[in-house]
């Protein structure tokens, strides 16, 4: 049962990291153009970036 002292905080921290990441992504506008994001990875850069 002593393990719970570690496990519960660890579980909660992991969840919180996910939540904060999600809220950051929404605020940044990462979900504004899902179709465009899917298409952009297919665009070839003619010259590799330096």
């Amino acid at each position: 049962m002593e393990m719970l002292v570690f496990l519960i905080p660890v579980a909660l921290m992991l969840g919180l990291v996910g939540l904060v990441g999600f809220i950051w992504a929404v605020r940044e506008g990462q979900f504004d153009d899902p179709d465009g994001a899917a298409a952009r990875i297919l665009i070839d850069e003619d010259r590799p970036a330096d």
């Binding site: 809220i23 929404v26 504004d32 153009d33 179709d35 952009r40």
Partner: protein, 736 residues
């Protein structure tokens, strides 16, 4: 590889046809600031990665462009640049690539809807985080039942509370605010029982945790919020998308106006025009303001304003309304104010009256709530009193009463209608039908009488040459003159003739016709008097006369052709027992032709906007639920008065905003799709409310008897929500 033209024009994957749309002068839409110039465009036809890179690369190659970013999801194209580059060059570059382009003026409603959507998404994420973690702890407590020590359980409850309390208060504020605002006005909506259930569940759980009791409902409170927020978020997102799509349709018409300042002509946005400004209207331009004509003799197509399909002769002193198209010669006019006597202001007033009446409509969900609240809350109160009388302790009685409130589950009930609405309007959206309001589906499903406008709704709104025993040769010869004109009849003649040569030095005489000398012979194309034909029969049908030299004149007849599928739609409606009526502002004989082609016996012609409103009032008084379908300015008031209303995508923006939905495409098949989807949606909503009721019939006795543990509540709540959602998603929606 095919020809270079096919490869470079439009979507390289062939997902959308190439478009050639001239946006006109759009320099008035540029926003200038210290950092440079900014322009937002709406691009149509961009579908794939190829489109994206083609458009962005070509615009970025323009001198001074610092940013060009296309949003593929909604077609918005943000361009920023420094220096002297003209906005028209930016738009021209995109349109030369084969994409439709129009300036986009962001409206306040859109950015408000966007921040609302974001708020819901974040609230949903917080509720999801809390629900998942609290459930993790709750499952441990339930499965450790009997083995877990009291201290451990208490700690677990305390951690659950520490997560659930702030999360529920944060995510639930959307419901609390809405519930409080209606309660203050003495009403109740679905948010009232939701807020009550959440707050009571939290309160009881906190008390139990402090006391060291066995049952806490933290998981139920946050799970309830999570499920409801999913529904709310999807609803908000779909509403914003439909709003944006409808806004884009209207933006296609939001043209600029050429204002004359002294000798200088400047292109400005229509909303910058004030009364008294002198404007220049080029041939082929659609008016966006009401004007008094000062100078110029021309003809105007007023089919969107009055429903009249024949062009009207325009001379100085004539008043022209927004929505008319100037046809032959440039006009100068003075803008008249939108004062109380102007047509647009009248219509706006009538629109407001219609909106007010419509907001009184009671949805199925409203009816369900008004049944649900007294029933459930009385049951909970009776449970409390019953257990007290039966000798239970106060704490125990309160626990049971609260568990009754939680388990009667406003969740399934609150999801029952929105989930169906989201599914139905989502499917309609993909078929090019944009629903404006959430209750439109319910109202459309109730309609038993359909009123059609004629010009532009049942018909294409463009004349077409009647092909009888016409000699193709004479059509070709007449077309040599017609190619020089923008008159709708000339264009129809050219459409029938196809490609060919155009005569030199064609002179256009407004209201009369065209004249040119071809190989020494004077040729004329126009009205009967223009070619010297003394026609005794004052026929008013659409016609053109053509004469070469002294030969006898030849007559071309035109008709405003029916839209594809119009006959089918009317026939299907009639078979379903829905009566059909045509209410038009056009001439009686033109309406009669269309009515007989569709075998509609109930038609009225020559109706002014006020006549149309009067007719709709009469139908309403007779207890008919009217579905009105129209496109013109003259229909706007009646569209807002009807029980439900639809407008085609090419309609005036006033008419579009007055109606519940907008459908795109040339055919009328969308109307049947919409009616089918509405009645199916209505059936599904009733089913869902029945399911929620059946669920409550089973759950309430269990809760009243005191058997509703948090585990039972959690299973019941998610079970019923999933059943309601699955029922909404169940196939049965027509695919094509």
């Amino acid at each position: 590889m095919t020809t270079a033209g096919n490869v470079t024009s439009g979507c390289p994957s062939g997902l959308a046809p190439a478009e050639q749309a001239n946006a006109g002068d759009i320099s008035a839409f540029v926003r200038r600031s210290a950092e440079g110039n900014m322009l937002q465009l709406t691009v149509r036809g961009a579908k794939c990665a190829g489109c994206l890179s083609k458009i962005e690369k070509n615009v970025q190659a323009l001198p001074g462009v610092t940013q060009a970013r296309l949003n593929l999801s909604n077609g918005r194209f943000d361009v920023r640049w420094r220096g002297e580059l003209s906005a028209n060059d930016v738009a021209g570059t995109v349109s030369a690539l084969g994409y439709g382009v129009a300036p986009f003026a962001p409206d306040a409603a859109d950015s408000a809807a966007k921040s609302e959507e974001r708020k819901l998404l974040i609230a949903m994420a917080v509720a999801a985080f809390a629900a998942a973690n609290v459930m993790l702890l709750s499952v441990s407590i339930w499965s450790g039942h009997g083995e877990m020590g009291e201290t451990t359980r208490r700690v677990m409850h305390a951690i659950s509370g520490a997560i659930a309390l702030p999360a529920a208060l944060f995510s639930g504020r959307i419901f609390f605010q809405s519930a409080w605002s209606v309660l203050r006005r003495g009403h109740a909506n679905m948010d009232v029982p939701i807020s009550l259930a959440v707050l009571l569940a939290l309160g009881v759980s906190v008390a139990e945790t402090i006391r060291g009791g066995e049952h806490a409902y933290f998981d139920a409170a946050v799970m309830l919020l999570f499920f409801l927020l999913i529904g709310r978020f999807l609803d908000a997102r779909l509403r914003r998308r439909t709003h944006a799509a409808a806004h884009d349709l209207a933006a296609l018409q939001a043209r600029t106006v050429t204002r004359l300042e002294g000798d200088e002509a400047r292109s400005v946005r229509a909303d910058e025009i004030v009364a008294g400004d002198v404007v220049l209207i080029a041939p082929g331009e659609r008016l966006t303001v009401d004007i008094d004509v000062l100078e110029g003799v021309s003809e105007a197509d007023e089919s969107l304003v009055s429903g009249e399909s024949l062009p009207r002769a325009i001379a100085p002193g004539t008043r022209l309304f927004a929505g008319s198209v100037n046809l032959t010669q440039p006009l100068r006019g003075r803008a008249i104010s939108a004062a109380s006597d102007s047509l647009l202001a009248d219509i706006a007033r009538m629109l407001e009256a219609g909106e007010q009446r419509r907001s009184k409509y009671r949805r199925i969900a409203d009816k369900a709530v008004s049944l649900y609240i007294p029933l459930v809350h009385t049951t909970a109160a009776l449970t409390l009193i019953g257990w007290l009388l039966a000798g239970a302790g106060v704490r125990e009685a309160i626990m049971i009463a609260v568990s009754t409130l939680i388990i009667t589950c406003p969740c399934a009930l609150a999801l029952a209608a929105p989930v169906v609405q989201v599914v139905a309007s989502g499917r309609l959206f993909r078929k090019g039908v944009f629903l404006r309001s959430g209750d439109a589906l319910e109202r459309i499903a109730e309609c038993d009488h359909v009123v059609f406008d004629k010009t532009g709704t049942l018909t294409l709104g463009e004349p077409e040459l009647v092909r009888s025993s016409h000699d193709q040769d004479i059509v070709q010869r007449a077309a040599r003159l017609a190619r020089a004109s923008r008159h709708p009849l000339s264009r129809a003649l050219v459409a029938a003739a196809g490609a060919g040569s155009v005569a030199a030095h064609v002179k256009e005489h407004p209201g009369l016709g065209l004249e040119a000398e071809i190989e020494g012979v004077r040729c004329r194309l126009g009205s009967a008097e223009w070619v010297g034909e003394e026609t005794s029969s004052a026929t008013t049908s659409l016609q053109l006369w053509y004469v070469e030299g002294d030969a006898s004149p030849y007559r071309f007849l035109f008709e405003d052709a029916l839209r594809p599928g119009a006959g089918d739609v009317v026939e299907t409606l009639r078979r379903r027992g829905i009566s059909v009526e045509i209410l038009s502002g056009d001439r009686p004989d033109a309406v009669a032709t269309i009515a007989s082609a569709l075998s509609v016996t109930d038609w009225r012609a020559g109706a002014s906007p006020a006549d149309k409103v009067e007719r709709l009032e009469k139908l309403r008084a007779a207890g008919r639920k009217v579905l009105m379908i129209g496109d013109g300015l003259n229909d706007a008031a009646s569209l807002s008065l009807a029980h439900a209303s639809l407008a085609p995508g090419g309609a005036m923006d006033v008419s579009q905003s007055a109606s519940d939905g907008v459908y795109t495409g040339a055919g009328l098949g969308a109307i049947l799709t919409m009616i089918d989807a509405s009645s199916l949606a209505r059936r599904r909503m009733v089913q869902n409310f029945s399911l929620a009721a059946v669920y409550n019939f089973i759950a309430v006795p269990i809760a009243v008897a005191g058997f509703a543990t948090p585990l039972v509540a959690a299973v019941a709540m998610s079970g019923s929500s999933i059943i309601v959602t699955l029922n909404a998603l169940r196939p049965g929606w027509k695919r094509s």
